[in-house]
């Protein structure tokens, strides 16, 4: 009733019915203000860290000096090198496997359509967020303390930290899945576990494997960082060489890591593309690559149509899949995976004894980590934490300035010149292939210890990540809008700003926030090679066994990382 009364009569005040420009919502204003503040903070950080042309010019002599001392590269003997690579790969394989094994139940609990209840879901979500927020380096320090030197601390550290990413991606995949098959099995009297295995795990197998491969790439890079705190493999060898200023050996090993990363990325990228890009159409009269075959045979038991036989007597007919080429490939792939895991267990010299001993003494060992250190060390830690944040902000700013043009030139629908676009795409792939740590080491040598090296290294990493995201979101824009603007007589530049940028601007902001989020995480670690920030203090504290300081650092890092994550989530949600 009241609504009827409150409507003013048109003849009294007609001008009140003219549409007014709506006031911006409070949330949008807050987001815009936050973005502006972040931009100011990033500029201030860049100035404060003294990242400018003068600093870079000063470093040129260092750079030439460094290059001179780097050559000739000194590779270890082939046998030793192979052993190092084998050890690294073994640790990374087992860590990723551990992460997958933990992530599957955790993600099933975290997804709304498979969870056991509110508490299970909340608990699983907390596990995922915490696993992602605690840097693997800190986990490695803790586990090294508990289990002693060896592969085990590395496997556990990377394995548990990876649950943060793998668990999240698995949970998202489970939530996106059609729950019809699960319900059909339920209607046939199947139990919960049966419903989940047949209705969810089996159809998701391609994503499960693809995500694991993706994480394998990331863990390979991380394993190098973990070498600095004593986890075996190539990382440890690089750390040892550089500590004794043996650049010829260190850089030779860094080159090996670079090649290894690129090789692994190529193989896993091919398999992943085949696993995820697959749909039914690919089976029809099209040449399918080896990787595609492998991938589809993971889930399909047997042939795709060519196994059809006429006049198949049911009772007499075979009830095991025929040994078609697909089944043979699947069999070989499974065998290969099992062999790799077996070799990894041998290569990592996995010791149950160490595990048991460590676990038995864990409470006593962990006692050294509490209570967190406070008092006089806190101001020092806080100021280094500030430097860490500055590094992340400056790296995000510098990275964005370079990455956005690169991304634009790599977008197919912006640059019509095919070769130019291809060159920029390749450039992105190359930059993405560079392990951040290696870049950081090089910058530390060139610009000296401190935040400049860290910020520049992260900026390079940011270019790799952001330019790809920018190019992808430009290519996703609706071309009809561009055509419409063009049809009105706009020039290519006008089309670009009026139609293309306008469409992808929210995505740009979201990507930059994501970049800031991941830079904060990375910035806490790069200090261990002397690239500035809290990582340096972390490494020192663990060396001199001030484990209470390690705990304080963990708390500080958690606060900052979770704050930035929440901020980034909020802004990404608001702009979409």
């Amino acid at each position: 009733m009241s609504t009827i009364i409150s409507i003013p009569r048109p003849d009294v005040a007609p001008e009140r019915f003219l549409p007014r420009k709506p006031l911006p919502r409070a949330n949008s204003v807050a987001v815009a203000a936050t973005l502006f503040l972040l931009l100011c903070a990033a500029v201030w950080s860049t100035v404060e860290l003294r990242i400018n042309l003068a600093t870079i010019a000063d470093s040129i002599s260092n750079a030439t000096n460094f290059v001179a001392r780097m050559f000739p590269l000194d590779f270890p003997p082939p046998g030793e090198l192979a052993a190092l690579i084998f050890e690294t790969l073994a640790i990374v394989v087992l860590a990723t496997l551990l992460a997958v094994i933990i992530s599957i139940p955790v993600s099933l609990l975290a997804a709304w359509n498979t969870t056991s209840g509110k508490f299970g879901r909340g608990g699983a979500r907390v596990v995922i967020v915490l696993a992602r927020a605690v840097p693997d380096l800190i986990l490695a320090i803790v586990f090294l303390r508990i289990f002693g030197l060896g592969a085990l601390p590395g496997i556990l550290a990377m394995g548990l930290h990876s649950v943060g990413m793998i668990g999240k991606l698995y949970a998202d995949a489970v939530e996106e899945l059609d729950n019809g098959p699960q319900e059909a099995i339920r209607a046939a009297g199947g139990g919960r576990v049966q419903q989940i295995v047949s209705g969810i795990v089996v159809p998701l197998m391609p994503q499960i494997i693809a995500t694991a491969l993706h994480r394998f790439d990331i863990n390979l890079r991380i394993s190098v960082i973990l070498g600095y705190v004593g986890i075996g493999g190539i990382g440890l060898a690089i750390a040892t060489a550089l500590r004794s200023l043996n650049y010829q050996r260190g850089m030779a090993l860094a080159l090996v890591v670079l090649l290894l990363c690129i090789a692994v990325e190529l193989v896993s990228g091919t398999i992943r593309a085949a696993l995820l890009g697959g749909d039914r159409s690919r089976s029809r009269n099209r040449r399918v690559s080896w990787a595609e075959r492998v991938s589809e045979s993971w889930v399909c038991r047997g042939s795709k149509g060519n196994g059809a036989k006429e006049g198949f007597g049911a009772a007499a007919g075979p009830v095991t899949p025929p040994w078609t080429a697909d089944r043979v490939r699947r069999f070989l792939s499974v065998t290969a995976v099992l062999a790799i895991v077996f070799l990894s267990v041998i290569g990592a010299e996995f010791s149950w004894e160490a595990l048991g001993y460590g676990l038995a003494n864990a409470p006593a060992t962990l006692g050294a980590f509490i209570p967190p250190a406070g008092g006089d060390i806190l101001p020092v830690l806080l100021s280094e934490m500030l430097v860490t944040v500055q590094i992340a902000l400056a790296a995000t700013l510098l990275g964005s300035i370079v990455a956005i043009p690169i991304g634009i030139f790599a977008a197919r629908n912006v640059v019509t010149n095919r070769p130019v676009q291809t060159v920029f795409r390749l450039l992105i792939v190359f930059i993405r292939g560079l392990p951040e740590l290696i870049v950081a080491i090089i910058f530390v040598v060139i610009t000296g210890l401190g935040g400049v090296a860290g910020a520049l290294a992260l900026a390079i990493g940011a270019i790799g990540l952001l330019s790809k995201l920018v190019a992808d979101s430009l290519e996703e824009t609706d071309v009809r809008v561009q055509q419409a603007v063009q049809a009105h007589g706009a020039s290519p530049i006008q089309v670009f700003f009026a139609a293309t940028v306008r469409q992808s601007a929210p995505a740009f902001v979201a990507h930059i926030m994501y970049l800031l989020d991941s830079n904060i995480r990375a910035a806490t670690l790069l200090g261990i090679v002397g690239a500035g920030g809290i990582g340096f203090l972390l490494l020192n504290a663990s060396r001199v066994m001030q484990f209470d300081v390690v705990t304080t650092i963990v708390i500080l890092v958690l606060i900052v990382v979770l704050t930035v994550e929440a901020l980034s989530l909020w802004i990404r949600k608001a702009v979409h």
Binding site: A188, G189, P203, R301, F312
Partner: protein, 280 residues
């Protein structure tokens, strides 16, 4: 009540009147939210070996009714008994035992796309197997043979090792039927089994359900939208409107005009049922 559910001996002492009806609903009400009623005091009994078709607009409560009979949803109020067991408050374990004897066919087939056809049929047998199965070869050979026999029956034995999502809609629904049949069900529930299919496939699927229900003397409860098909296919028509039963008679005594009235927006007064406009 739980003793009745678990002991087959006790089941035999159930009065014959109860035995006649394999499925019975008494005043079943389902309230999805304070304003949305799924079922509004539905009472209906289903005789053994008879084919009943549920007719009604989308949202009239057909699916909700079938899902209640399978125990996939629980009523807010009322009693449901299936094969002599009260299920409205049954535990999950008790429900599983009953569901083994009740087959369910879905509108969208609900097959696991990347899984082979044969394994999809085998999943119908999970209710009687212990533990999960990750691949076809983890099912007992006897189950695989049974699955192959059911595929033969629906005419898809030659597709056994193909991915389920490479089949056409009609073929997928036949796999869905094979998956229900491997349960050796006593009751077959079908929720608009042909709504996603073209006319030719629809006819094939309906013929198949008809043939099998006759061969196995199955009690079939099937929701459909095609009035003509429904009249020709069923022994009995049950019309639903806004969660209430508005028509319940032998198909032979229902003419097409009467059946079509179930679909009219305006409620048709029918003896004994006072109608209200669609709630929610």
């Amino acid at each position: 009540m739980s003793t009745i559910l678990q002991s087959p001996k006790v089941q035999a002492t159930v009065p014959s009147e109860e035995q006649r009806y394999v499925v019975e609903l008494k005043n079943v009400t389902k309230r999805f939210s304070p304003t949305v009623l799924g079922l509004d005091g539905v009472s209906a009994s289903f005789e053994a070996g008879k084919v009943t078709v549920l007719l009604g607009l989308s949202g009239s409560g057909k699916s909700t009714m079938l899902r209640h009979i399978s125990g996939l949803q629980r009523p807010t109020d009322g009693q449901i008994s299936v094969l002599g067991h009260r299920i409205e408050n049954a535990s999950d374990t008790e429900l599983r035992k009953i569901r083994r004897r009740v087959g369910f066919i879905f509108q969208n087939f609900h097959l696991v796309g990347p899984m082979s056809v044969l394994e999809n049929v085998c999943t119908g047998k999970l209710g009687t197997l212990r533990g999960p199965r990750l691949s076809l070869l983890m099912y007992p050979r006897s189950v695989r043979i049974e699955a192959m026999e059911q595929l033969e029956r629906v005419g898809l034995a030659d597709r056994a090792f193909q991915r389920a999502d490479t089949l056409s809609g009609g073929q997928q629904q036949r796999v869905g039927i094979a998956r229900a049949l491997i349960q050796k069900p006593e009751v077959l529930l079908a929720d608009e089994p042909v709504a996603s299919l073209d006319p030719v496939s629809s006819a094939q699927v309906i013929d198949l359900i008809k043939r099998i229900s006759r061969e196995e003397n199955l009690t079939v409860i099937c929701s459909l939208h095609q009035v003509e098909l429904a009249l020709e296919f069923s022994d009995r028509i049950l019309g639903l409107q806004s969660g209430r039963v508005v028509l319940d008679r032998a198909s032979t005594s229902v003419d097409q005009q009467e059946a079509l009235q179930i679909y009219s927006k305006v409620a048709t007064p029918s003896p004994g049922a006072s109608m209200t406009p669609l709630a929610g």
